[in-house]
C-alpha cells in the first residue's frame, strides 16, 4: 500500500475530544489569498484537513479559479450546532461543510441545508444512489463526499490469526481485551449485533428488536476494557498490544500498518460498518454558485480516486467509473456487503437509544 498522507496526532472524527484547541483553529481559518471568487469549505480538522489542503484544494483552485479557504471543523454535532447558531444570525462560518449522516439528518430537521440543484452537478450522476442525501420532500440536502469503514481491528502479535467475524467481540476468550467506541451513534454496535445475530439491521425496526439487541450487546461488556471517545486513546493501545482488539477506522489502521505497527484491519464476514460524509451548503451562505461548482468537481471519478489514494477514504462514486486498481480499491473498501447504520433511528429514537445505551455501559 502506498503511503497516502502525513500523519498527525489528532484524529479527525474526535477533534474536539482532545481539548478545546479546536476553538483557536476555528477562529483563524487558513486564508488563501482570494482572487475574486472564493469558497469557505469545512472539513474535519487534523490530518483530514491537512490532506485536503495539500492534495485536493489547490488543484480545484487551479481548475476553476475559485479560491478555497478551508475551515477546520470539529466532529460530532459540535459543528452542526455552530452552523445552526450562525445561520440564525445570517452568518456562515463555512459555505460548504462535510457533514456526517447523523448531522445531516439533524440539519434537515431545522432546514439548515440549502437545497442543491442536481442539474448543476452533473457529476453527481456518478455517485452510488445512497450517497445522495434528500429532504423528505425530495430536495437534495447533500451530496456524498467520502465514505469510510469501521472494521474489526486486531494486534497481529497478540492475534497471529485474523478474526473473521464480529462474533469475536463476544468470545469469552477476549475478556477485558476490547476497545469499542463509547457512543451509540458513532459505534453503530446495535447494527453490528443485529447483522451478526439477528439476521440484519431490519431487526431493529421495533422496540422489541432494539431491546433484544441491547440484551445481546450487554454480553459484550465484560470483554470491553476501553470505551473510547478519543481515537488517539485506542490507537496507541492497539499498536502496543495493550488493548489488542476492537473496532476502529479502516483507513487509519491501514496507515498504522503501513508505518510498520503490528496492527491489521479485517472486514468481518458480516461486513464493515460503512459511514460517510456529505457536502452540504449552509442556508446562510451566499456562495450558491461556487458551492455547486465545488461539489460537482469533487464528484468526478478522478478526484474520488485521488482522495482514495491520498486521503485514504472510500469513494462515493460507482466502482466501475474509477481507475483504482484492485489493490488500491481493497485498501480503502471491500466487496463484502457492508453494515449500513440505521441513521433513521438516531433521529426518531435518539434520546431513548442514548438513554438505554448509557444505562447499558455505565450501569
Amino acid at each position: 500500500m502506498n503511503k497516502r498522507i502525513a500523519r498527525s496526532g489528532i484524529g479527525r472524527r474526535t477533534f474536539v475530544a482532545t481539548g478545546l484547541a479546536g476553538a483557536g483553529t476555528l477562529a483563524m481559518p487558513n486564508v488563501l489569498k482570494a482572487q475574486g471568487r472564493s469558497l469557505k469549505v469545512g472539513v474535519y480538522g487534523g490530518y483530514f484537513k491537512e490532506s485536503f489542503d495539500k492534495h485536493i484544494f489547490p488543484e480545484f483552485t487551479k481548475a476553476t479559479g475559485i479560491a478555497v479557504e478551508s475551515v477546520a471543523e470539529p466532529t460530532g454535532e459540535v459543528w452542526l450546532v455552530q452552523l445552526a447558531q450562525a445561520a440564525k444570525a445570517g452568518r456562515a462560518p463555512a459555505d460548504v461543510s462535510m457533514m456526517s449522516q447523523v448531522a445531516m439528518l439533524k440539519g434537515r430537521a431545522i432546514d439548515l441545508w440549502t437545497g442543491l440543484d442536481r442539474a448543476r452537478i452533473p457529476n453527481s450522476d456518478n455517485l452510488i444512489g445512497k450517497f445522495i442525501n434528500r429532504y423528505p420532500d425530495g430536495r437534495v440536502a447533500g451530496i456524498g463526499a467520502v465514505a469510510w469503514y469501521i472494521t474489526l481491528v486486531s494486534n497481529t502479535k497478540v492475534y497471529p490469526q485474523a478474526p473473521t467475524s464480529w462474533a469475536a467481540l463476544w468470545d469469552p476468550a477476549n475478556r477485558n481485551r476490547l476497545g469499542l467506541l463509547a457512543l451509540v451513534s458513532n459505534s453503530f454496535l446495535l447494527e453490528v449485533t443485529a447483522k451478526t445475530f439477528m439476521g440484519g439491521t431490519e431487526a431493529l425496526d421495533s422496540e422489541e428488536g432494539l431491546l433484544k439487541a441491547f440484551g445481546k450487546l450487554a454480553e459484550v461488556k465484560s470483554n470491553v476494557r476501553l470505551w473510547y471517545r478519543d481515537e488517539a486513546q485506542f490507537e496507541q493501545a492497539l499498536k502496543s498490544g495493550e488493548i489488542p482488539m476492537g473496532q476502529y477506522y479502516h483507513d487509519v489502521t491501514g496507515l498504522a500498518a503501513a508505518d510498520g505497527h503490528p496492527v491489521r484491519s479485517t472486514f468481518p464476514k458480516e461486513g464493515g460498518i460503512l459511514d460517510s460524509g456529505c457536502w452540504a451548503l449552509s442556508r446562510a451562505s451566499k456562495k450558491v454558485d461556487e458551492a455547486h461548482v465545488f461539489i460537482d468537481y469533487m464528484s468526478q471519478p478522478s478526484i474520488q480516486a485521488t482522495m482514495s489514494r491520498k486521503v485514504g477514504t472510500a469513494p462515493t462514486v460507482k466502482r466501475s467509473l474509477l481507475d483504482l486498481s484492485d489493490d488500491e480499491f481493497a485498501s480503502v473498501s471491500s466487496e463484502i456487503d457492508p453494515i449500513v447504520p440505521r441513521y433513521d433511528l438516531y433521529q426518531t429514537r435518539s434520546d431513548w437509544l442514548n438513554q438505554k445505551w448509557t444505562e447499558l455501559i455505565v450501569g
Binding site: V81, I110, Q233, E242, Q347, S350, T358, I361, V362, G363
Partner: protein
C-alpha cells in the same frame, strides 16, 4: 485589622470592575444555562424556546442519582486524600530553608501547569501492562506477571489526586507559613510528641484553612471530565462526562443544561452546609 464600612461612592469604585466581570462571565452565562434547561428538546434536532420541566424529570431517576452520587463521592474522596497528604507535607515544607522551599514550590507549580490530557495519558502509560510499573513490580518479584492497573477506581483516584495535590499544597502553604512556630514549640516544651503537637495544635489552629481547602479541592475535582474517562471504567464516569456527551454528541442542550444546573446547585448546597456547620461550631465556642 478592622474593616471600615464604605462611606462614599468612590470607596465602592474598586469593586465595580470585579463585580462587572462576575456578572458578565458568571451570572449571565449561568442565567442563560438555567433558561436553556427549561427549553423543549426537539428529538433529532435542537430545541425550541419553551418552559418545560421534562429535562429535570429525566434527570431525577435512580440512574442519574447513582452517577451524581458517585461524582460527589469521588470529589470528596479526592479532597480528603489530598488534604491528608498535603497537610503534613506542607507543614514540613514550611519548616525548611527558603531555598529548599523555592525548589519545591517551582516543582509543584510545574505539575500544576500540566494539562489534564497529559496527566491522563501519562498515568495510563504508567498503569499499562506493556509499559507500566507492573513490569517494575514484576522485575522486583512483587508481582507474578506484569498486569494492567487500569481501568479502575484506584487509577482514577490516583490520577485525580496527582492533579489536585499541587493545588492543595499551594492553598495550605500561606497559612502554614504564617502559623506562629512558638505554638508548636510551646506544645513540645509541655511534653507533646511532634505527632501529638501537629494533631492537637497545628490542625486545630488551621481548621478554617483546612475546611476552605477541602471545599476548594472538592469543587476543583467535581468538574473532572477527562481523567475518569481515560483511567476508569464507564461506572467511574462522572456526571461531567455525561453532560459533555449530551451537549456535544447528542446536541441535547436543554438536558445538558439541566444536569449542569443540578450539579452546580448540589455543590453550592454542600459548600453552604459545610460553612453553616463550621459557623455553628464557631458560635458555640
Amino acid at each position: 485589622m478592622r474593616r471600615e464600612p464604605a462611606r462614599t461612592f468612590s470607596d465602592l469604585l474598586p469593586l465595580l470592575f470585579p463585580a462587572a466581570m462576575l456578572v458578565v462571565f458568571f451570572v449571565i452565562p449561568f442565567g442563560i444555562m438555567i433558561a436553556v434547561s427549561f427549553f423543549r428538546r426537539q428529538q433529532g434536532g435542537f430545541y425550541t424556546v419553551d418552559f418545560v420541566i421534562a429535562n429535570y424529570e429525566r434527570f431525577l431517576t435512580p440512574f442519574f442519582g447513582d452517577v451524581l452520587g458517585f461524582s460527589l463521592f469521588l470529589a470528596a474522596a479526592v479532597a480528603v486524600c489530598c488534604v491528608l497528604l498535603a497537610l503534613p507535607f506542607t507543614s514540613f515544607l514550611a519548616g525548611c530553608s527558603r531555598r529548599v522551599q523555592v525548589v519545591w514550590l517551582v516543582g509543584i507549580l510545574a505539575i500544576l501547569s500540566l494539562s489534564e490530557v497529559i496527566i491522563g495519558f501519562a498515568w495510563s502509560t504508567l498503569f499499562s501492562r506493556t509499559a507500566g510499573i507492573g513490569n517494575l513490580l514484576s522485575a522486583l518479584d512483587l508481582m507474578e506477571t506484569p498486569k494492567a492497573l487500569l481501568p479502575g477506581f484506584g487509577a482514577v483516584l490516583t490520577g485525580m489526586i496527582y492533579q489536585a495535590l499541587p493545588f492543595t499544597i499551594l492553598l495550605l502553604y500561606p497559612s502554614l507559613m504564617r502559623l506562629d512556630p512558638s505554638l508548636l514549640e510551646a506544645a513540645r516544651t509541655l511534653g507533646a510528641s511532634p505527632m501529638r503537637g501537629f494533631v492537637s495544635v497545628v490542625v486545630p489552629a488551621l481548621r478554617h484553612t483546612i475546611a476552605a481547602t477541602l471545599i476548594m479541592v472538592f469543587v476543583f475535582a467535581l468538574g473532572s471530565y477527562l481523567l475518569p474517562q481515560i483511567l476508569g471504567r464507564p461506572q467511574h464516569w462522572t456526571l461531567s462526562v455525561l453532560i459533555t456527551d449530551q451537549a456535544i454528541y447528542q446536541s441535547n442542550m436543554p438536558f445538558a443544561a439541566a444536569m449542569a444546573v443540578f450539579l452546580v446547585l448540589i455543590s453550592l448546597a454542600l459548600v453552604g452546609l459545610v460553612l453553616l456547620v463550621g459557623g455553628r461550631r464557631e458560635a458555640a465556642r
